[in-house]
């Protein structure tokens, strides 16, 4: 079990510091390189989202809660199709919170990835990449704050 909260001004310039905190923990867990890249991408997308949209035109803080645990943190109702074996292992959950405008990034429509380069629009890819690479993600608006969580299995046992 590990738990750490980082409160940081939500500006793009602080991305490196956020990633350094996440990567430090992933190193300690012996996280495989590929998984680490997927997690870094997810953290980057979510943090940059907050930095860009949550408080515009002002700025504000983001809380980044990094947790690892031996029990699967995916909510019961979202475990459909998961076996006993799937639920085992070491898990990571990162929750980012901000007190900015209520915004649920999961409501954003997925981009049409079958379109050609000329037809493809720039953008809309970030959250889609996160959805595809994480084991689960969920959003809630509570106590005047946005909370977005990503969950990823770090190792099988």
């Amino acid at each position: 079990m590990f738990k750490k909260n980082l409160r940081i001004l939500a500006i793009v310039d602080n991305l490196a510091q956020v990633l350094a905190n996440v990567d430090e923990q992933l190193d300690q867990e012996g996280c495989p390189l590929k998984t680490r890249m997927q997690i870094d991408i997810a953290v980057e997308e979510l943090f940059v989202n907050i930095a860009t949209y949550a408080y515009t035109p002002e700025t504000g803080d983001a809380d980044i809660l990094i947790e690892t645990m031996n029990e699967c943190p995916i909510p019961e109702e979202s475990r459909k199709g998961m076996s006993e074996e799937d639920l085992k292992g070491k898990w990571l959950r990162i929750t980012m919170s901000d007190a900015g405008m209520p915004f649920d990034p999961l409501q954003k429509e997925d981009p049409d990835i079958s379109l050609s380069a000329q037809e493809r629009r720039i953008g809309g890819l970030g959250i889609f990449m996160v959805k595809k690479s994480m084991d689960h993600m969920y959003y809630e608006y509570k106590d005047g704050k946005n909370h977005i969580s990503i969950i990823k299995k770090l190792s099988p046992a």
Partner: protein, 99 residues
């Protein structure tokens, strides 16, 4: 951090990237490309040393691909497996030429 090395021979350009193409470094690449893209018909990205790409990096590649489709060709070489997987997931492997 991103290291950009470009080599231009007449109308052909090779751009070698080393490090991370993310929100903080993507604008550097975008500016670099803008400075010469008008004058080339062949653009090759060597990704042998590219470790990481996020959606900000993908956006720059898509913009470059759209531009180069009109006036020539663009391709990516030596793409690492992890980076390639990002292209697969996002459908970019179908719109970019990856060798």
């Amino acid at each position: 951090m991103l290291n950009i090395e470009k080599q231009i021979n007449g109308s052909e350009a090779i751009v070698r990237l080393e490090g991370r193409l993310d929100t903080t470094t993507a604008p550097e690449l975008e500016n670099e490309l803008k400075s010469f893209m008008d004058s080339v018909t062949s653009l090759v990205f060597d990704f042998e040393k590219l470790e990481y790409i996020s959606s900000a990096g993908l956006r720059v590649l898509l913009t470059a691909q759209k531009f180069m489709s009109k006036q020539g060709s663009m391709k990516l070489i030596n793409v690492k497996e992890d980076v390639n997987e990002i292209f697969e997931v996002t459908g970019f492997s179908d719109i970019l030429t990856i060798e």
